[in-house]
Structure formats: C-alpha cells, structure tokens
C-alpha cells in the first residue's frame, strides 16, 4: 500500500515536472493560431478568379496596399524582394507565396494591378499574386476578415488610408502571425516560416507535442 502510494506520488511529480519543464523550457515552439483567415473569392491581375482556402495552399504572406500610394508600394516592393531572397536562401523556394490585396478596389482594376506587378519584378522571386474585387468584397476580406484597418479618402483623387500589415496564413488558412510591414525583418520572417514548416511536417506522436506547445503557449519570444 505504502509502495503504491510512493509510486503514485513519484509519478505525479514526474508528470508535473515534465509539464513544468515543457511550459517553461519550451522545447518546441509554435506560432499562435490567431484566427481563421477569411474565405474569399477575388480576382487576380489577369482577371481570373482566385479562391481561398484551397487544398494544398502554400503558407501565404498577405500584404495590403494601394497602387496609387507610391511610398506604400515602394515599401511593399522592398519587403517582397528582401523576404523572398531570405526565404529562398533558407530553402523555401516553394511552399511559400505572397498575396497583395488592394484596399483601393475602385482604382486598382486587374489591369492596374498587372502594371504594378511588372514594376515589382515579380517573376524573379517567390510567387506574388495581386488581388482585387468589388468594394464590398474588399471590405469583407480585408476589413472584417483580416482585421486590417483602411479608410477610403474623402477626396477620390487620394488613395485610402490603411494599415500596412503583413499577415502570415498557414496551409490550413489560419492566421498565425501579424506584423506591421516595417516591423517584420527577414530573420523573424524566416524563423516564423521555419516554425510553421516544422509544425506542418509533424506526424504521429510529434503532432501531439505540437498540440501541447499550443496548449502551453510555447511561442517564440
């Protein structure tokens, strides 16, 4: 009886110690599952419909902007080039894609987006699609869905005011990270993509370890 009690107490301590070590030491790290990304149907720069989620979708970095906002587009271009270089160097020449969604759908027709894509020299990097749609669709996707602030200007000649955000969406169409465009450096981006790729590749028992990491909020600091 006493032996059983001793074993029970020992097991209890071992389990508690293991959980404590897991939560504090965080041997496995994950990015938080922030929220489901909004499903949408928009059109790309060729006018073809693009739907998300789609089975087999890559990890996608969503960027937001307006072609008329030249400074903003320059920032997008810089980010895209640096990020795709860093990701390619880290071995992610596929499995990661970029999507730019306009917040200025009245102005940013597929043709305008096609020209913007040419200026960004897209073919040299990881895939980057430019998406637009009706103003209601853009409100639903960008505003309500992704929670990115934008406000059309009272002067129709001016682009909307918006929050230049980067949102990382995993292969299951779940938002996993959100940054300001000027806050996300290449090192952090590669770290985040590494975490997502490792988690996506976890099978069997290691899958449970990742679920445990979510349970104990084992997020990178």
């Amino acid at each position: 009886m006493k032996g059983a009690l001793r074993i029970g107490a020992g097991l209890l301590i071992a389990v508690a110690a293991l959980i404590f070590a897991f939560a504090v030491g965080r041997p496995v790290q994950v990015l938080p599952r922030v929220a489901p990304a909004p499903p949408f149907e928009l059109v790309d720069a060729s006018g073809a419909p693009v739907m998300a989620p789609r089975e087999g979708s890559p990890i996608t970095l969503y960027l937001f902007g307006a072609v008329r906002d030249e400074a903003g587009m320059e920032q997008v271009k810089r980010f895209y080039h640096e990020a795709s270089r860093a990701l390619a160097a880290a071995g992610y020449s596929d499995g990661v894609a970029f999507s730019f969604i306009t917040v200025d759908p009245d102005h940013d027709t597929p043709e305008v987006l096609r020209q913007a894509a040419e200026r960004l020299a897209v073919p040299q990097g990881l895939p980057l699609s430019f998406l637009t749609g009706s103003w209601v669709a853009i409100r639903m996707v960008v505003g309500t869905g992704f929670g990115v602030y934008f406000q059309p200007s009272a002067d129709p000649e001016l682009p909307p005011a918006y929050d230049p955000a980067v949102i990382i969406v995993d292969e299951n169409h779940v938002i996993r990270a959100r940054y300001g465009l000027d806050q996300l450096d290449s090192r952090t981006l590669v770290r985040d993509i590494n975490l997502l790729a490792k988690e996506a590749g976890a099978k069997g028992a290691s899958r449970w370890i990742y679920e445990g990491a979510h349970l104990f909020l084992c997020y990178p600091r």
């Binding site: 301590i13 499903p39 149907e41 309500t144 934008f150 955000a165 959100r178 997020y219």
Partner: protein, 228 residues
C-alpha cells in the same frame, strides 16, 4: 514522518503545476500588434459598443450604395434591389439544402419579423440562392413558405447570380457531402447578412449567430433613420 513526506511530495507537485499554469499564462504573444491601434477593426468595421445610437452589427463606414441587381423571386416576379428604397433590406446568401446556417438565419428572420410587428412592413428579408442548380423557383417557393411567405427567395440565370455574388464578395464553394448523406453536395458560403438602409446604402454586416435582440435593435435604428 511518512505522512509528512507524502504531504511534501504532494505540495511539490501542486507547486510545479501552479508554476506551469503561471508561466504558461504569462508567456507573451510574439505577434506584435500592428501599428495604428486599429487591429481587428476595419474601416470602422469593429463591432461598436451598443448604445441608443450605435449598431451591434459591423458598420460600413462610409456607407456606399448597395450594388444594385435584378433577379427573379419565388413567384416569378422580378426583384430589383433599387425598387425597395424606402425599406430596409436584409440580404442573405444561402441555399435550400443547407443543413445549418441558412435555416437558422431564416428562422431568426421570422422571429425578428414577428417581434418588429408593424415596423416589419418596411423591412424586406431577402434570400439569394448560391445553388441555382438545385434551387429552382418552385423549390425556393416551398422553402421560403416554411419560414415566412413574405420573405423573398431569389434566383436567376447563372451569369446574373455570379455578378451579384461577386458584387457582394460572397464566397461560394461546392464540396462533397459526408459519406452517407442524401444531399449529394454541400455549398460552403459566406454566412453574413448585408443590411441596406432605406436610402439604398449598404450600412451593416450582421454575422451569423448574432442574437435576435441585437438584430432587432439595429433594424429599428435604421427604420428610425428612414423616418427622420
């Protein structure tokens, strides 16, 4: 002495678990909030604190004219959205084989309409199909009658419907039904209601699951605006 040992062991275990919970709970999120302090809201889309003059639904600010369209209702008559200026229009996209969201939404509309009483005479509840293949006019007629014959059930040719879906940013995806299901296929679709005010402006988005009293509150506010 041994009792003391067990008590100590138990205490250590409890402390370890408490520490785990403490550390787990205080781990900061690595996700920096986006600048501007507007994360989670969109063009004024964040759900407002409801008061006498604010809406529970997500507001579209600034509001713009709701995209106009003409489709065919369950009686075979043309329904043109712009003909209903002066009324508040609640627009929902769904399909009659829908197992959950659509009947839930229409049942809610029925309750909202009953609660509004006479005020509901100035509210149009409109159901636009996302499954024209199965939702014939006859089927829409029968389906709408299950809830309220005064609701409008709209269909049309595929081109006209696709234009409306695109204009309202409605996501539609046909998917296989679970094995053993008799419905054949399901349609994943946007599950929000679009609320158009009496001047034809798209004003609000009501999300699925919003409580009836909040929907009623918002519709009453829009009706009052329309009267002012």
């Amino acid at each position: 002495m041994k009792r003391l040992t067990y008590a100590t062991l138990f205490l250590v275990a409890v402390l370890l678990l408490a520490g785990t919970l403490y550390w787990g709970g205080r781990t900061p999120s690595p996700v920096p909030a986006s600048p501007g302090g507007a994360a989670g809201t969109a063009a004024g889309d964040g759900t407002p604190t409801a008061g006498e003059t604010s809406f529970y639904g997500a507001t579209l600010d600034p509001p713009r004219a709701a995209p106009d369209f003409a489709l065919i209702d369950q009686h075979g008559n043309e329904f043109r959205l712009s003909d209903y200026q002066g009324d508040v229009v609640v627009l929902f996209f769904g399909y009659t084989s829908c197992p959950d969201v659509c009947p839930g939404t229409l049942a809610q509309y029925r309750h909202v309409k009953r609660t509004l009483g006479q005020e509901a005479e100035r509210v149009q509840f409109v159901f636009v199909t996302v499954d024209p293949e199965r939702d014939t006019r006859q089927r829409l007629y029968e389906y709408i009658n299950l809830f309220d014959p005064e609701f409008k059930g709209l269909t049309g040719d595929l081109d006209a419907l696709e234009a409306v879906w695109r204009a309202y940013g409605v996501y539609i995806e046909k998917v296989e039904a679970p094995p053993g299901s008799s419905v054949g296929y399901l349609v994943n679709h946007t599950a929000v209601s679009y609320v158009v005010d009496a001047s034809g402006q798209l004003r609000l988005i009501h999300f699925y699951g919003m409580p009836d009293d909040q929907v009623i509150h918002d519709l009453r506010l829009l009706l009052e605006e329309g009267q002012a």
